[in-house]
């Protein structure tokens, strides 16, 4: 077996960390966009849309991400669409994040007092205008903290993409652990890598929570 210097190990882990970061950003941004759509469907007046959104959220929140990834990557192949692991991983993580973000945001919309809808309606605003000008700005303030908080879950969630061949942080770690037979050192460093990505996000969520609470109190 080959000897790895600590420097080489760190280099490879940094590479894996980079992929983890890319995947997380992709999932967060695209997941946010799709999640917004699902949110609108979830609170729509049209019942079929609501049922669809509920089913969507139930499915993606109720099955392990690992199985979702597996189905997308290998399932699309069965349907004759050969996609790269990147596309499959990005696509699955997007669908997964969208479900959670939509549900988080729904809670925030519902936390806005019903009277606000009624007041807006009495000003002859259309439903879209009520949402756009009255409800969403208020819901946004509740939404910032849990949304940033969920981004931590996305970062950690990217770990399962190794099942379809992505060499992100966890996968790089397990390959190295096998090659060096030093699982504790390597997995310690992997844990530290996630902590470096996630802790700033958690602090940010905390900071925003306090700041927005102070604003709300005024």
């Amino acid at each position: 077996m080959i000897e790895f210097s600590i420097w080489t190990i760190l280099q490879y882990l940094a590479q894996g960390l980079g992929w983890t970061l890319c995947l997380s950003l992709l999932a967060f941004v695209l997941g946010g966009a799709v999640g917004g759509g699902i949110l609108l469907a979830r609170i729509a007046t049209y019942p079929l849309l609501r049922v669809f959104a509920r089913g969507y959220i139930e499915f993606f929140q109720g099955t392990p991400l690992l199985m979702q990834l597996f189905m997308v990557f290998f399932g699309l192949s069965l349907l004759g669409r050969d996609v790269s692991p990147w596309v499959a991983a990005g696509f699955s993580l997007t669908l997964y994040s969208a479900a959670f973000l939509a549900e988080i945001w729904r809670g925030c919309v519902e936390a806005v007092d019903r009277g606000q809808w009624e007041a807006a309606a009495s000003l002859a605003m259309s439903r879209w205008e009520q949402l756009r000008h009255v409800i969403l700005p208020q819901a946004l303030r509740h939404a910032v903290t849990p949304t940033v908080g969920f981004s931590v879950q996305i970062v950690k969630g990217t770990a399962v993409t190794s099942i379809i061949g992505m060499t992100e942080l966890t996968k790089t770690g397990s390959i190295l652990a096998n090659a060096t037979l030093q699982p504790f050192t390597i997995f310690g460093m992997v844990g530290l890598g996630y902590f470096l990505l996630c802790y700033p996000l958690s602090r940010l969520a905390h900071y925003l929570e306090r700041k927005l609470n102070v604003l709300a109190a005024h």
Binding site: E58, F59, Q61, G62, T63, P64, L65, L66, M67, Q68, F70, M71, F74, G75, S77, L78, G80, E103, G107, V152, K156, A159, T170, P183, F184, F187, V190, G191, Y194, F195, C198, Y199, S202
Partner: protein, 224 residues
Amino acid sequence: MAYQFDFSGIWEYRAELAAGVVHTLALTGVGTVFGLLVGVVGGAVRGWRVEPYNRLCGLYVELIRNTPFLVQLFFIFFGLPALGVHLNEWVAAALAMIINLGAYTTEIVRAGVQATPRGQMEAGLSLAMSRRQVFWHVVLPPALGRVWPALCSQIVIVMLGSSVCSQISAEELTFAASYIQSRNFRAFETYIVTAVLYLLLAIVLRHLLNRLGARLTNRDVAKP
């Protein structure tokens, strides 16, 4: 691709799947009950800033929430023996789940406790209740009611997250799936069946928790 789906092979392994479902539920049950206990205590400490435990709890919460569950599990199962602590795979898995859910619950309960109006607490104290009594009877019930939906989501997440316990040879539902597909190579069929089982578990669990939550809130309303 000319892949032929064949689910008949899965039926032979129904005993393994059933055992997997039972074990996943058992792990989730133990993890939930004790995780909630840890979280309620931690949340009270955090919410009321009981020093020095407040800082310790803060460290615990940040450490657990910002690292993957798998890393925590590996540390308990493979790392602790170096310190002379040998836990078998079930104890290690349950402990990891308790620690994990405990950290999230601590934060959720803290938020609920902090949202309790100060006046309610003062009213309790003025009735000559101890701080502990105030917490159990005045602060906690409405705080739990407030954060119950968030707790339910977290419990379902922990149930699905228990799937990585298969990596330390705990024979829960994902273990059953991996075991079956390593024998018959029918990964698609196995994973589809397993995903459906997880979905059913999640739906039933959420339903039960919602009913429990409604009961908790009702009891509080009924109390004078």
